[in-house]
Symmetry: C2
Subunit: 314 residues, 2 copies
């Protein structure tokens, strides 16, 4: 039996994956992560989404913020700032340690997927975390003030700019990282985590070969809606969807994933949308999708796995 | 009246410069620093000699080691190592903060000399510290086991390899940083600090224009011998000089600086070599050159300044 494959963005996906981890005792889990928000900070290669998944699944995450290592200091960054370096991206000392290792390994010629697995093993991650691609892929946000690199849009500008368009620089030339297409072809089930469909899952789908692998699937693909009652639980998904002409609802999410999914898990607050979704040929399950604690995360994961036809052991 | 210009390597030079700083109340000091030992560590641009001077002259240096910031932690490096990153170069967290700022500024297009002055000002350095060049210049040590990048030879291999030759990669194409030649032309006196003549001062002299500026000098140039009683006080200078056919003594140092200096300050233990040096047309002053404490550093600086014809105000 092949792995459960989860397409994942950042915080929401990481929390959902914690639930998946808890639901699965033996079964193999392959996580395909977003790299569109990767960035270079003063020469260090930073992968915010991969790190959030890594830190969350190894119990190191700063739960309150949703990113970074719990209790981390920022001596290096504070020093740099005291010297006049105007850096808005927060880098903890332990974070920097990981970025140092990643950057050095990449510079020594290792691929990002190899580096990511090496970091995962070192931190005790039993599951397989793969960047969707080893090639450079950067999400560019088109705003009234001009094009912004993703982290500039998201962190520096606090995702307040109107989004006129989204481009995935480098995606056309990118290829899936070794193992990604194989995992999708071999999957027992595919789940799209509750992540922003445009900027978290979008870059994954933009890598040539991924969309085809999903279209060719022989197992169910289930999307968990990140939109609840017209709002994103975190981040700019709803506003962004509206501006770009998508309905900020599970229906809008389903339309973005048109042809790629067989079922959706939506929040009970959106239960009335089930008919609309079923009309699109999707099977729908409405439940409490707010992942406020470990129990809620497990509940959501269990539901998604069951909708995907995976019997969870409890 | 122009500045006192000191050509400087690392630890010995930095301690000597502390003495110079203390001896001079108003007079301008321009330090021309070695960049041949610069290196990139996991994407960060590290300048060991410039930083040792910077940290020493701003009172931050770890006196015992002679490099790094006193009391610095190494949370980032320890984290990287715990992840399996095999890094032998020690990087403190405050160090990393400085390297982050430097690397970011260099990547933004600033020249190394601008970055160095910016860091100096931020740390409270009143004097002018200039890298000899803004261009890439790397000291390569030729050993029986092959060519080694300088830090690999010095730190990783503990400068134990025999040195068959020394190359300054990039030197031919390098130009002096803005202000360096001007400072030398305008100098009230020039001093070569007690640094390894081959690998600390050598890269400075290898930049086209520097040697000519010294040959054209109209003021005294004084070298302080880093060799005392046939030994270097620190580092591999004596062994290296011997292997490369230089006498490991003030006389050997004088021969390396042939035509570039007018006077030498040597240790009293080497007083018998004065005749030999005077035969080379040099004026010689023998004194205690061991810089064991602040007083000794000031003494040596005072002697060197006076030999250079500068009246020190005490």
């Amino acid at each position: 039996m092949g792995p459960i494959v989860v397409l994942a963005g950042g915080v929401g996906a990481a929390r959902f994956l914690q639930g998946v981890q808890a639901a699965m005792t033996v079964r193999e889990l392959t996580i395909v992560g977003n790299v569109g928000d990767d960035t270079e900070i003063a020469g260090l290669h930073v992968c915010p989404d991969l790190d959030t998944v890594l830190y969350t699944l190894t119990g190191q995450i700063d739960e309150e913020r949703g990113w970074g290592v719990r209790g981390d200091s920022a001596r290096a960054l504070e020093r740099a700032r005291s010297l006049g370096y105007d850096e808005w991206f927060w880098l903890g000392d332990l974070d920097i340690g990981l970025h140092l290792a990643r950057t050095a390994w990449l510079r020594s010629g290792l691929r990002l997927s190899e580096v990511t697995q090496r970091l995962g093993r070192a931190l005790g991650l039993a599951d397989c975390l793969l960047p969707v691609s080893d090639e450079r892929l950067r999400t560019i946000i088109e705003t009234p003030g001009g094009d912004l690199e993703f982290q500039t849009y998201y962190v520096r500008h606090g995702h307040r700019d109107d989004v006129l368009g989204i481009r995935f620089q480098g995606a056309d030339a990118a290829t899936p990282a070794p193992g990604v297409v194989e995992a999708l072809a071999d999957a027992a089930a595919i789940i799209i985590a509750p992540s922003n469909p445009l900027i978290s899952i979008g870059p994954i789908l933009a890598v040539p070969g991924i969309r085809d692998a999903l279209l060719d699937r022989r197992v169910p693909c289930v999307a968990v809606s990140p939109i609840v009652g017209g709002q994103a639980l975190r981040g700019p998904a709803a506003h962004m969807m509206r501006t770009l002409g998508h309905e900020p609802s599970p229906v809008g999410v389903a339309d973005i994933y048109d042809g790629l999914i067989d079922a959706m898990v939506i929040d009970q607050i959106d239960a009335e949308l089930a008919t609309d979704l079923e009309r699109r040929g999707l099977s729908v399950h409405a439940t409490d999708t707010i992942m406020r604690d470990a129990k809620a995360r497990q509940h959501l994961a269990n539901v998604a796995l069951e909708v995907a036809g995976i019997r969870v052991g409890k």
